[in-house]
């Protein structure tokens, strides 16, 4: 039986909640999330949200926009970046008005600090732009948005996992989801659907991403013929805790922390003479890998040090309390006195479901919308991050485009009726579940996931080449075949989290294929996509967005132009 809503939002992180707040009061709205909303990954963002408030020194949204475009290695759509940086300012004030407990300047204004790639006067020096609440800014954003949803009586379906997107007569008609508590399959008939399901970092071994970041929304849309844009661009954050991948915020370097190699050298001076340790993440992660390759990792191993020892107790206690505690808890080290072992950690998908600046999902190189279908946040690609996202801009993105998507959807549900439900709307989802539960095979899902994560780390992470990517393509073929033989031991209906993990793994395998195929075709190096066999950026041939479609037996590609309004592509130096 189908439940009917005007709008259904899938995902309850910052983007989903922001969209819900725009839709509240404009119709019947439901928010589905496979987690309780406050468990969403927005909550783990640490360092801040970028907005040119100019509270501590002169700043302008145009400077922020330039940094965003340059940081994204000119693959950013500049019309979208302009909206991002302009609306960042009012968004931060809105959050403050909703009660977000920002840290404060002595005069009582919102406090701001430097962050990677954020500069004044188009690259002259670092600027204090990141608005923060200690080092738990994301936690406070998630809490504040959820609190506003409580106030506005938003209706939540907690612990519902999306399985399918319904499309009928060229329009979005709803979603199919599984209630985790009961295992029941529910059809949600809706005029508008907004995906805000987050990223897919769990395809890599070392990642800052939560266990739940398995690209569910991307995979569901892709299987329904929606393209995925720029999936070859995956950001590795320079400073993850060694082996565990837990994020140590760039705010640490914003407050003055320094990266050091085996000899104690501040090596970033050689790679980015102006911004040094505050160079953008793609460059910094590559620099760390390069140091390790040239034998300057600590004890010859695959990590370097983050040095916080000179920051002092007050800065660590007041401005970086959470990451200080992570270091103490997980490494047993005292960051006031000891160096912290770090390595790059898979962090953020710049690519995703293509949208326009209203959050509408677009399905081709002419930006044709699929009526009623919206996406916002990491699941989407607007594209404001281009080939490499700047720190703090993910929080700006989820809020600015979550809001724009929600607002546009609110208008859409007033002006449109429901598209008809497809016949037997839940049939494909039911078939998926019963196929997985009764595969008859003997493959242990964890073995497949281990192989996926290890191989992706080795062959498709910071450094790539045709040989590695081709080998990964073969590996994925093998893993996808074995996946069809995956064995699920738990046959119960109630909270079958083993089944859930196998569904998630299926999505990751599809998305890894898209990433690898997109990376193989793009024969250049740009932002986070670095091809050792094509180490230069190639604007004449590759200043364009990848659109990957699910073909019969392979991934099909189309390309769309980059929107350039203010800043012509230049060589990228810091």
């Amino acid at each position: 039986m189908a439940q009917r809503y005007d709008a259904v939002i899938v995902g309850a992180g910052g983007a989903g909640l922001m969209a819900a707040l725009q839709l509240a009061g404009h119709g019947q709205v439901a928010v589905l999330s496979k987690l309780y909303p406050t468990r969403s990954h927005t909550g783990t963002a640490q360092g801040g949200i970028g907005a040119a408030l100019g509270n501590l020194e002169e700043d302008h949204w145009e400077w922020h926009m330039f940094d965003t475009v340059k940081g994204g290695d000119y693959l950013v759509d500049q019309d979208a970046a302009e909206i991002l940086c302009r609306e960042a300012i009012e968004t931060v004030y809105d959050l403050e008005h909703w009660g977000l407990p920002f840290s404060r300047t002595p005069e009582g204004k919102i406090a701001q600090r430097p962050f990677g790639g954020h500069t004044r006067e188009y690259g002259k020096a670092a600027v204090r732009r990141s608005c923060y609440a200690a080092d738990r800014t994301g936690h406070m954003i998630l809490q504040t948005c959820y609190q506003q949803c409580i106030k506005n009586q938003v209706h939540f379906y907690d612990e519902y996992h999306v399985l399918d997107l319904l499309i009928e007569q060229g329009r979005c008609a709803g979603v199919v989801a599984m209630c985790l508590a009961t295992g029941e399959i529910h059809t949600f008939h809706a005029k508008a659907v907004l995906f805000a399901t987050g990223g897919c970092g769990k395809m890599f071994r070392v990642t800052s991403n939560a266990h739940s970041l398995t690209g569910d929304g991307m995979a569901v849309a892709y299987r329904r013929g929606i393209p995925l844009e720029d999936m070859e661009f995956f950001q590795f954050h320079p400073t993850g805790i060694y082996k565990m991948g837990i994020l140590l915020s760039e705010a640490a370097r914003g407050e003055g922390a320094i990266l050091r190699n085996a000899s104690g050298e501040r090596f970033m001076e050689r790679y980015a003479p102006t911004l040094k340790d505050l160079a953008p993440r793609d460059m910094t992660s590559r620099a760390i890998y390069q140091e390790i390759r040239e034998g300057r990792g600590i004890d010859g191993k695959n990590y370097v040090h983050l040095d916080l020892t000179h920051l002092g107790k007050d800065v660590l206690d007041k401005k970086l309390p959470d990451i200080t505690e992570f270091v103490r808890t997980y490494l047993g080290l005292e960051p006031l006195r000891e160096l912290v072992p770090i390595q790059p950690t898979a962090h953020y998908a710049m690519g995703g479901i293509p949208t326009d600046v209203e959050g509408r999902v677009v399905i081709d190189e002419k930006n044709t919308p699929l009526p009623g279908f919206y996406a916002a946040g990491e699941v989407a690609c607007v594209s404001v991050h281009g080939a490499n996202r700047l720190g703090t801009n993910s929080l700006v993105d989820i809020l600015v485009f979550g809001r724009r998507g929600g607002r546009h959807a609110a208008k859409f549900i007033k002006e449109n009726d429901w598209a008809p439900l497809p016949a037997k709307a839940d049939e494909p989802a039911r078939a998926l579940i019963s196929g997985l539960k009764n595969s008859g095979g003997k493959e242990r899902p964890a073995d497949l996931r281990d192989a996926l994560q290890d191989e992706m780390m080795e062959k498709a992470s910071v450094f790539r080449d045709a040989k590695g990517l081709t080998a990964m393509r073969e590996k994925l073929r093998e893993l996808r075949a074995r996946y069809r033989q995956a064995k699920i031991e738990d046959q119960s209906a109630c909270y079958n989290t083993e089944l859930l993990e196998v569904i998630e793994l299926g999505g990751l395998l599809d998305l890894a294929e898209v990433l690898v195929e997109s990376a193989l075709v793009r024969q250049e190096s740009r932002g986070a996509h670095f091809r050792e066999d094509f180490p230069k950026r190639d604007d004449p041939n590759w200043l364009k967005h990848t659109l990957a479609y699910k073909g019969e037996k392979k991934v099909d590609f189309r390309y769309k132009p980059v929107t350039i309004t203010k800043f012509e592509p230049k060589e990228r130096k810091y």
Partner: protein
């Protein structure tokens, strides 16, 4: 190192009573207990059920009773837990399956204290000003991740499940002591009720249980004090 996990199991579809499962796991001393639980789930028994997400103590999914104390599985390293580790679901919440409990009533109590900024004065064009000193007054209680560890460690809550509980009071405190908030009177009324703040007997279990290091007992004390001064 090898550890033996003794885990309280219950599947509502097949079990009448909970039972203890024992699992031997090869692990690094620096692994989290969550890693060991995942190891059991992935390589020994796929049906083992628990919530988890961020795996570093921020999302609040994996609070459980570990060697008798309320802890997050992702914040406990094996080297601190010994070779024999017992793991049970939080006490006082209905067990749904294995370590996974029903959090609905807990979250309803959180919502009951109006955990959102209430203001009547119009918003300025830019930010409301707040001094660092005023901001500091509620800093501790902004850290709450709603994991439930404090509430399910509280004997007053075990005795009376209508008690609003420490987590809800912590979140009320976060707003009552925010200089920008104008909803204290509404919240105070709720906390002054028969199942409100006065059920706290200052046992300090909540303080010991909080994985975020919030001084829960002090926060509750500050709310009690504010209520008393209001009456005087």
């Amino acid at each position: 190192m090898q550890v033996t996990l003794k885990i309280k199991r219950f599947n509502p579809e097949t079990d009448k009573e909970p039972w203890w499962g024992e699992y031997k796991v090869e692990a690094e001393a620096t692994d989290r207990l969550l890693d060991a639980l995942n190891h059991v789930k992935w390589y020994h028994d796929g049906s083992l059920t628990f919530r988890r997400s961020c795996a570093h103590g921020i999302c609040g999914s994996d609070a459980m009773v570990i060697n008798g104390s309320n802890r997050l599985a992702c914040k406990e390293l094996l080297r601190n837990l010994g070779e024999h580790i017992t793991v049970e679901p939080m006490r006082g919440f209905r067990v749904i399956k294995d370590l996974l409990v029903d959090m609905d009533a807990f979250l309803a109590k959180y919502r009951s204290v109006k955990p959102y900024l209430i203001t009547h004065t119009p918003e300025p064009e830019k930010e409301r000003l707040q001094s660092p000193r005023d901001r500091e007054k509620f800093d501790d209680t902004t850290k709450c991740i709603l994991c439930g560890a404090c509430t399910t460690s509280c004997p007053s809550f075990w005795a009376n499940q209508d008690y609003v509980g420490p987590a809800a009071i912590v979140n009320a405190h976060r707003f009552i002591f925010d200089s920008r908030d104008e909803g204290a009177a509404e919240r105070m009324q709720i906390l002054d009720s028969v199942d409100g703040v006065w059920r706290c007997r200052t046992v300090f279990n909540c303080l010991e249980a909080c994985p975020r290091g919030i001084n829960v007992t002090r926060a509750i004390g500050e709310v009690k004090k504010a209520l008393l001064y209001r009456k005087l």
